[in-house]
Amino acid sequence: MSAQALKTETPATAGVEPAPFDSWLPQAAAGEPDWLAAARAAAAARVHTQGAPTSKSEGWRYTGLRTLLEQGFTPVDEPPLGEPMSALLPEDIEDVLVPGLDAHRVVMVNGRFAPQLSDLSGLPAGVRMNGLRASLAADPTALAERVNAVAGDGAHVFASLNTAGMDDGLVLHAGRGAVLEKPVELLHLSVGMDEPRVAQPRHLIRLDDGAQVTLIERWASLGDALYCNNAVLEIDLGRDALLKHRRIQLESPSAFHIAGVYLRQGANSRYDGINVGIGGRWARTDLVTRFSGEHAECDLQGLYLAGDKQLLDYHLDVHHGLPRCTSRENFKGIVHGKGKAVFDGLVYVAKDAQHTDAEMSNRNLLLSQNAEVDTKPQLEIYADDVKCSHGTTVGQIEPEMLFYLRSRGIPEGLARRMLCIGFAGEMIDALGNEALAGHVADAVGRRLEAATL
């Protein structure tokens, strides 16, 4: 985390229940490599001393943890020895697939890699993909240098929890100059959890110099189960690498969703990320970017729809530590019903990061009396030759626009939906994949249909 975060997030010791996250931690697994066991133990100890953040911690000012802690989540059970992690067959998941999406598919069921549902055929030379557990089993030392290499032993309590409890994940490595023509679909499926369980996947994505990959990360569920996902993605981009990253969160309406995307960008690399948040009851996403070379470009875009007592919380932390990097942050939100959305963006420009170009924008449509938007677009700038700006708006649907549509004979409800879809359309178009854009547009349409706007 940035210096700012370290400064303000002093661990709350007084008034916190003892060890609120202890139930999240798994039993020590036998046969794990020593380095991993040590990392887990250190992280668990850190979580233990930090406790749960309160609304007094700056990063949790608008996001209460009470409902999350009340659930008493426990880790997903290990399957009996010799049994597969999941008994699901390919035909069971057809409903959640995106029609017409041609992709290399990696499916995680309740946080575990499910090879029988995945399709990793036809990968070009230089691109390797495997489950985290399988990778560790094949070579116990291979990932010692990579786990937490980007995420760090950070101050973020949920990243520490993930380190302590990571159960599986995707290890993707695109070698020098490798170009993946087809996108990689990383589908997280939560299914049939009768007790409140927490899955903690850890994905390690690494693109060597000049590699190009499109990653479509999806979150879905079969049924309306109550569960929690606490994911960490570590993304390491080499020189000139390009990653297009689409994150589509359509969790079950009762689900808790926590994601930390930690990104390190080499010189002249480009990250193009779009975050769509529609599902879940309580969702928190941290997007953390660090540059390790000049001329890198980071695009963080987002679209969130919060209603039905939902909380969607996005925290962006872009640290310009080197000169001549560019970052663009553009988040749009529609908040209705009893929804609440939080946007907290920080652009930090260090002393020597001259010629930084950073732009942040957060626009919100607030559609009901009980909805709430809290937004905090922050700039911290210690270099003079920079171009930095941010803009925020919160407003409603323009009565003139509504009047125009109604005068054309369109009923008010439909007119309002049309205007909302128009507002969201910019992000849907930006997804850049026809099948995926159709899928997201459907989800947005269904949500607006159901909502009283």
């Binding site: 690494r206 938007v373 700038i381 941010h390």
Partner: protein
């Protein structure tokens, strides 16, 4: 992990080298101007009646007794003191300073001569001080429309134009006098906007405040002149704990000017003032500040710590409170003039120019709390940071669920001069009403080479060009200042920035 150190370092090192050469050039060229001594740095030798350093109940009792205060005032102070003892020092602002020893401060200091009947009785040394500062007290009556209640350390020694004001029914006096003469008004309003428990510094202020200004403008009255108080800290080791209370009754209007300079000192001086404004139905208060206290030497030693709580309450419908501030002085500024927009259709405004250079730190901004229907607020904040200055805009716009039709526009612009300074923006925006309209924009930039080149090609020196560009950058705010202040502010800004270009 894929980017090796070799990938990164060469470019890195090159930039660092370039930057330092640039800085060195700038230093050579303009250093002499930057290091110009503080113009107003002198100390008046005048006998003071000062309490020994330290703070406990007996000190508060002594202050209260010296001021001849009634029992309720003492009780109020003591209650605040006990609350203060339990309060933590705020740590969230982006400013750094060594911890303050509140027991090493003397909490009362008054010039010995008192009970003056006219200006002739004022200590001539004191009058000379004012003249050096350019406050022509003796010419006040000739100066159209400005009454000055000059505060020298902690006791008002001269108040002018009282008669003319009292004709209009306006009360303009020191807060000590008000406690004696208008206890019912003071009791009704004191602490009603900024309660003693609001924060650490208001707690301290409420316990030990020694003087300040009280203004009451009666119903349907337009105050016939701009009211103004010059503050000046002059006694080593005395913090000033001013308390200002302005009440604008229904349908009234008042414009209040506050301006300050302070002499050079080696020890940090604490200033923890509280300003409360109350506007009832259809009333308007305009509060303008030019703050030019001693910012410390090149290393930041000896500057004033300015920890001020200013808040206005638009209590009545259609009321308006407008804050305008030009902050160029103080080692540390911690100040958030705010508006509570309680009445329907009430309006809050905040216009600010803040300059930090040397080792100055400023964490300033505003809070606009929209509670009533159709309330409107405007925030325009211009921050200029040079040399090692650190500048933060920290603001809150809260639109409550019942604030139908609320409207806010916020603009924060920062100008960076040099590569060792900082400009931060920390806006907090909380909206709970769908009919609200809220816009926030912020930019950070430097003076562009093109702008400079254009001015230089028209024959302006670099200094003048920068001064002109910066003044243009701040114009939106200067336009809000009363005439006298606008001129002073522009001059101040030019002086503050002399040589800070590179």
């Amino acid at each position: 992990m894929s980017a090796t150190p070799d990938d990164v370092l060469p470019g890195d090192a090159k930039t660092a080298a370039q930057t330092s050469t640039k800085a060195a050039e700038a230093e050579a060229e303009y250093g002499h101007l930057v290091r110009s001594e503080y113009e107003h740095g002198f100390v008046t030798e005048i006998e003071s009646d000062t309490l020994p350093p330290g703070l406990d109940e007996s000190v508060i009792a002594t202050i209260s007794q010296r001021k001849g205060e009634p029992q309720w005032m003492l009780d109020w102070r003591l209650a605040a003191y006990h609350k203060w003892l339990e309060m933590p020092t705020p740590k969230w602002a982006a400013v750094h300073y060594p911890p303050i020893d509140y027991q090493s401060i003397s909490y009362f200091s008054a010039p010995k001569k008192k009970e003056l009947k006219s200006l002739d009785e004022v200590d001539p040394v004191l009058l000379e001080t004012y003249e050096k500062l350019g406050i022509p007290i003796e010419e006040q009556k000739a100066l159209a429309g400005v009454a000055v209640d000059a505060v020298f350390d902690s006791v008002s020694v001269a108040t002018t134009f009282r008669e003319k004001l009292s004709e209009a029914g306006v009360i303009f006096c020191s807060i000590s006098e008000a406690v004696q003469e208008y206890p019912e008004l003071v009791q009704k309003y004191l602490g009603s906007v900024v309660p003693p428990t609001d924060n650490f510094y208001t707690g301290l202020n409420s316990a030990v405040f020694t003087d300040g200004t009280f203004v009451y403008v009666p119903k349907n009255t337009r105050c016939p002149m701009e009211l103004s108080t010059y503050f000046r800290i002059n006694e080593a080791k005395t913090g000033q704990f001013e308390r200002t209370l302005i009440v604008a009754d229904e349908g009234s209007y008042v414009s209040y000017l506050e301006g300050c300079t302070a002499p050079q000192r080696d020890e940090n001086q604490l200033h923890a003032a509280v300003v409360e404004l109350i506007a009832l139905d259809n009333a308007e208060i305009k509060y303008s500040t030019v703050q030019n206290w001693y910012p410390g030497d090149e290393e930041g030693r000896g500057g004033i710590y300015n920890f001020v709580t200013k808040r206005g309450d638009c209590r009545g419908d259609n009321s308006k409170i407008s804050w305008t501030q030009v902050e160029t002085g103080s080692a540390i500024t911690w100040k958030y003039p705010s508006c509570i927009l309680r009445g329907d259709n009430s309006v809050g405004e905040f216009y600010s120019v803040a300059v930090t250079k040397g080792k100055q730190q400023a964490d300033t901004g505003t809070k606009m709390i929209h509670l009533g229907k159709n309330t409107r607020s405007t925030i325009v904040s211009k921050g200029i940071s040079a040399q090692h200055g650190i500048q933060s805009y920290r603001g809150l716009v809260r639109i409550a669920g019942k604030a139908e039709g609320a409207r806010n526009h916020t603009q924060c612009d920062s100008l960076l001069i040099g590569d060792k300074c900082a400009a931060n923006t920390f806006p907090y925006i909380e909206v709970k009403n769908p009919t609200a309209k809220m816009e926030h924009e912020a930019t950070t930039s430097k003076i562009s080479d093109d702008q400079l080149f254009y001015c230089r090609s028209r024959g302006l020196s670099e200094e003048d060009a920068v001064s002109m560009i910066v003044n243009g950058f701040c114009k939106e705010v200067f336009n809000e200042l009363p005439m006298e202040f606008a001129v002073e502010a522009q001059k101040l800004l030019s002086i503050s920035l002399e040589g800070a270009v590179g």
